[in-house]
């Protein structure tokens, strides 16, 4: 038994490292004095350990997939790749929180601690192999997120964001749990591997119960990925939270939830025609509504954070389509989208963060005439916006192309047309934004100070993948394609 546990642990090194990191960060934060030098050391420590976590993660990719901890957790390529992206996303957000002035300076390390905590929850969610682990994963993720959202505790918007997040989170978690209990009642198991076999022979009342229960359960995950109609919290939370938190929210919890959604869809709804049809229908409708609502609402926004929040809802709509096709190509497109989206988000928020610090607001107008005030920032921001809109040669186009690919392969022409129209709508508000950056005239054209060469190097480093993956995407595409769901 003990020996078996140690055997499991060899798969679980990344998580252990992250957990150790979180606890040591907590101790270190308490131990060090409030000096800038020692804080810098804490940040370096966190980034180095997270970077080191990538090594065992890549090693896990090479190993045969396995269910560990007595089938509670599964380590397969889908979960491992998701974890790799999440770790990189967390590193980017921590880096941003270090340079950002949006969080009170006496609070900064708390962000790192809690972000790493959310990462632990996300990793658990990504590899959950039964409903209980999944629920624990969602909750670990959520509870720390609530605190993160309210991190600027003296400001009413941040407090509002935190409260909103708690209320929505509590409600949707309850609904999801309600769904899970019905599924357990109908099937007699919470283990995914057993569920996979049991749903195949499901019929009659039990089938009806499972269909309804699965829709309830979807609520829990839909809330995390901010899909329609559970998206209402996200703009307020995005706007109210500090920018590094917003960045973090738009990457890590979303990807974790997507990974769980993929797993559930593949084990649950791929083995029974009635269930599959109900699920695919639900996902298609949700996807169409999500992107339409997100993109249409984004048009009128003047706050950059809100705009990016609504645009991210639009992107989520496209990503859901990667789940809805229920095949390996779908997973590949989704993972690729996730990677690309992460870099675009990091770019956009990194720049917004600095301008927000300089002007104390995240209104549109801070970008006016940016090209005259800081050309590098402006060029990268415009490139990122065009990439978000899906214009070649940027990677956002490739991501969108892959989504079109998988839905048309399934002959879902109707949804393809909806996605096409949405692309045009999204282009409109991205262009409106780009227009302000390039064509706008600022009141004074003084150069923007304080964007150190380190920061410039960081945004260039984030932007390189955005451009590079639009042209030479075959390697990363193959990497995303190696993500498969392990079913025994």
């Amino acid at each position: 038994m003990i020996q078996q546990l140690f055997g499991f642990l060899s798969y679980y090194i990344p998580e252990v490292m992250v957990i150790v990191l979180m606890t040591t960060l907590l101790v270190a934060e308490a131990a060090v004095k409030d000096e800038h030098g020692s804080r810098k050391n804490i940040y370096t420590y966190a980034l180095v350990v997270l970077g080191l976590t990538l090594i065992p993660l890549f090693q896990n990719l090479g190993k045969a997939p396995a269910h560990i901890f007595f089938n509670a957790v599964t380590i397969d390529s889908l979960s491992t790749i998701t974890k790799i992206i999440m770790v990189i996303g967390t590193m980017g957000s921590i880096l941003l929180s270090y340079t950002s002035k949006d969080i009170y300076s006496n609070l900064k390390s708390e962000f790192a601690i809690m972000a790493v905590g959310v990462l632990v929850g996300g990793m658990l969610l990504a590899s959950a192999n039964n409903f209980l682990t999944m629920y624990v994963g969602i909750e670990t993720l959520s509870i720390l997120s609530f605190v993160l959202a309210a991190l600027k505790r003296d400001e009413s918007t941040s407090a509002e964001a935190g409260l909103k997040y708690v209320l929505y989170g509590g409600l949707s978690a309850g609904v999801a749990l309600y769904g899970i209990s019905h599924i357990y009642g109908a099937l007699g198991t919470i283990q995914f591997t057993e569920v996979f076999e049991k749903v195949a022979v499901l019929e009659g009342t039990k089938l009806t119960i499972v269909v309804v229960a699965s829709i309830l359960f979807f609520g829990g995950l839909a809330y995390k990925i901010s899909a329609f109609p559970f998206h209402m919290w996200s703009p307020d939370v995005y706007q109210g939270s500090p920018i590094s938190v917003t960045t973090f929210f738009s990457i890590v919890p979303k990807l974790a939830a997507f990974s769980a959604l993929v797993r559930v869809s593949m084990v649950f709804f791929n083995n029974n025609t009635v269930l599959t049809n109900a699920w695919v229908g639900l996902l298609l409708v949700v996807a169409a509504m999500t992107m339409t609502v997100g993109n249409v609402t984004a048009i009128g926004q003047n706050s950059v954070k809100r705009l990016l929040a609504f645009s991210s809802i639009g992107h989520v709509g496209l990503m859901i389509l990667g789940v809805a096709v229920l095949n390996e190509e779908g997973i590949r497109a989704l993972i690729f989208y996730g990677i690309v989206y992460m870099f675009m988000t990091l770019c956009a928020f990194y720049i917004t963060s600095h301008l927000n610090d300089t002007y104390g607001t995240d209104n549109y107008d801070i970008f006016r005439g940016l090209i005259y005030r800081h050309p590098l920032m402006a060029v990268i921001m415009v490139g990122t916006l065009l990439s978000l809109a899906g214009i070649p040669p940027f990677s956002g186009f490739v991501a969108k192309f892959n989504i079109f690919n998988i839905i048309i392969e399934k002959r879902y022409y109707g949804i393809a047309v909806v996605a096409a129209i949405n692309s045009v709508i999204s282009l409109y508000y991205y262009l409106r934004f780009a227009k302000i950056i390039i064509f706008g005239k600022a009141d004074g054209n003084e150069a923007i100070a304080g964007f150190s060469s380190f920061n410039q190097a960081v945004i260039v480093a984030f932007f390189i993948p955005v451009l590079f993956l639009g042209i030479f995407w075959e390697k990363i595409f193959a990497f995303a394609g190696s993500a498969t769901v392990f079913l025994k």
Binding site: P393, A420, R432, K435, F477
Partner: protein, 505 residues
């Protein structure tokens, strides 16, 4: 010779990098780099023409390198007769535009860098034989255009730039859906993104199931492609972006827009929409002809009502591109020959008109034929500006289709071709010629004749640089009006193959 397309395609990018590496303050160095660069490209395209084999309709100078092997996407270039003409036109117009942009003094470095980038992407669209590559160039082209219109344009430039970008994107995103649908309809094979392999009516018997109704694959996706190209041409009712973009764009960009970019739309019909969906194209040819006819007449009537001379020429483009659509929809040898010839000739003659308007605008800073308060914007240019008037007359008559100048040959061929198919439409379309003569002559009368406007006396006549870059266009317009064979011979085989294919359906 095999890599020459690579050189032509990437030469402007080399120039762009050189421009970007030059310090901002050295504006004349930047201008010289662009000029030399476009001159090299022009020489290369002449070399290409000299080595071009007229006798075959096959693709020549083919380059094929795998790009994304998973989807069988290739970096696949090649040209045939139709593309050859467009390549030459593109190289020529960009060379001339660099010269005409000498007076641009706002962010010179960015301007020339974007202009060169635009040239490369336009070459890319014409050379690409891989559908994915084609789409990438088609879209990338929007980025430099957006900034060129939006930064260096007129008063209402931002609106025009956004409208241009959105309209084109709206069409092309549907084209993307069509491209992917074609990929799966061919069964994801190694040739699924090859434009050539998709041609020839392979999808005649394919059906699509939409909400339980079986609809012909061709009939649906022909319209997806149609939308993408029709917006670009632009065919009525998708033309509304064009007057804004043209009027607001700086002179050089208007020239490129009218001279080359509009041709990408009709080129798309000839290379993609018609050969890939021949049955649908034949079935809907009457509808396309009617849309072309409406473009001809509507464009001409709108042109007649304009008080802004640039807007007048912009609407005349709608009218002239309508003739191209008429020629294409005829699907006869003369018709398509005429259409391709008209693509070239409209490129040269409209370029002349826009350049001339740019020249006078630089001096007067307005473009009113009749100002909103009712007074004449110009008047008596005929007596005060003899050189300007001479060149203007050549350009205007070429545009009008006067025998002996280039526009006549192509329009005559189009009418010959279309008369066999749509007699009524031909008769009505002839009215378009009449209207064309009317609005151009009326404009000429109001600007060049009449009492001399005292303001106009202050403007200098054309200088040596301006004369220098108008000469090649004048030669093209006159030479190909008298002796069009060099152009017709080049495209004969390619057009013949297309007409032959369409005749089978």
């Amino acid at each position: 010779m095999n890599g020459i397309l690579n050189w032509i395609l990437w030469m402007p990018i080399i120039g762009m990098v050189a421009v970007l590496l030059t310090p901002k303050a050295k504006e004349n160095v930047i201008r010289m780099i662009s000029l030399v660069n476009t001159a090299i490209t022009l020489v290369l395209s002449v070399i290409l023409y000299l080595n071009f084999d007229n006798s075959t309709a096959d693709m020549q100078f083919v380059v094929k390198i795998p790009w994304i092997e998973h989807f069988h996407i290739n970096y696949y270039l090649g040209i045939d007769g139709i593309t050859m003409l467009m390549t030459f036109l593109n190289a020529l117009l960009f060379f001339i535009c660099t010269l005409s942009s000498w007076t641009v003094d706002k962010s010179v470095k960015a301007y020339f860098a974007l202009l060169l980038m635009l040239q490369s992407t336009v070459f890319g669209v014409f050379f690409a034989l891989d559908f994915f590559l084609f789409y990438v160039y088609w879209e990338v082209m929007l980025i430099p255009m957006f900034f060129l219109i939006g930064i260096w344009g007129g008063e209402n430039r931002e609106y025009a730039a956004v409208k241009f970008f959105l309209y084109t994107f709206f069409g092309s995103i549907f084209m993307l859906v069509g491209i992917v649908a074609l990929y799966y309809a061919t069964g994801k094979g190694p040739e699924s993104f090859s434009i050539l392999a998709l041609q020839g009516g392979r999808f005649v018997n394919e059906v699509v199931n939409i909400f339980g109704y079986e609809i012909s694959f061709e009939k649906i996706f022909f319209w997806f492609m149609f939308l993408g190209f029709a917006i670009k041409v632009p065919v009525f009712p998708f033309h509304t972006w064009l007057p804004h973009a043209h009027v607001q764009a700086p002179t050089a960009v208007s020239v490129i827009l009218a001279g080359v970019l509009l041709k990408m739309g009709t080129y798309g019909f000839l290379r993609i929409a018609f050969p890939i969906f021949p049955a649908a194209a034949v079935e809907y040819s009457t509808l396309i002809a009617v849309l072309g006819l409406i473009s001809v007449l509507y464009g001409a009537f709108c042109a007649m009502a304009q008080d802004d001379v640039k807007k007048l020429i912009a609407y005349s483009s709608v009218s002239h591109m309508g003739f191209v659509m008429l020629g294409i929809s005829a699907m006869t040898t003369q018709g398509v020959n005429g259409a391709v010839l008209q693509m070239f000739n409209h490129g040269t003659s409209t370029a002349m008109m826009f350049l001339l308007i740019g020249i006078i605008y630089e001096r007067s800073h307005h473009r009113w034929i009749v100002r909103p308060d009712g007074t004449r914007g110009y008047g008596g240019l005929y007596t005060t500006h003899p050189k300007f008037t001479t060149v203007f007359i050549i350009g205007m008559f070429a545009s009008m289709g006067l025998p002996g100048l280039s526009g006549f040959i192509s329009e005559a061929l189009i009418f010959l071709g279309i008369y066999q198919k749509f007699t009524t439409i031909t008769v009505i379309a002839v009215l378009g010629l009449l209207l064309g003569a009317a609005y151009l002559l009326w404009m000429f009368k109001r600007m060049f004749f009449g009492p001399v406007n005292p303001e106009c006396e202050k403007y200098s006549d054309m200088n040596a640089r301006e004369i220098f870059y108008m000469v090649p266009l004048c030669i093209c317009v006159i030479l190909f009006g008298i002796y069009p064979s060099p152009l017709l011979n080049v495209m004969k085989a390619s057009v013949g193959q297309l007409v032959e294919l369409l005749a089978k359906f």
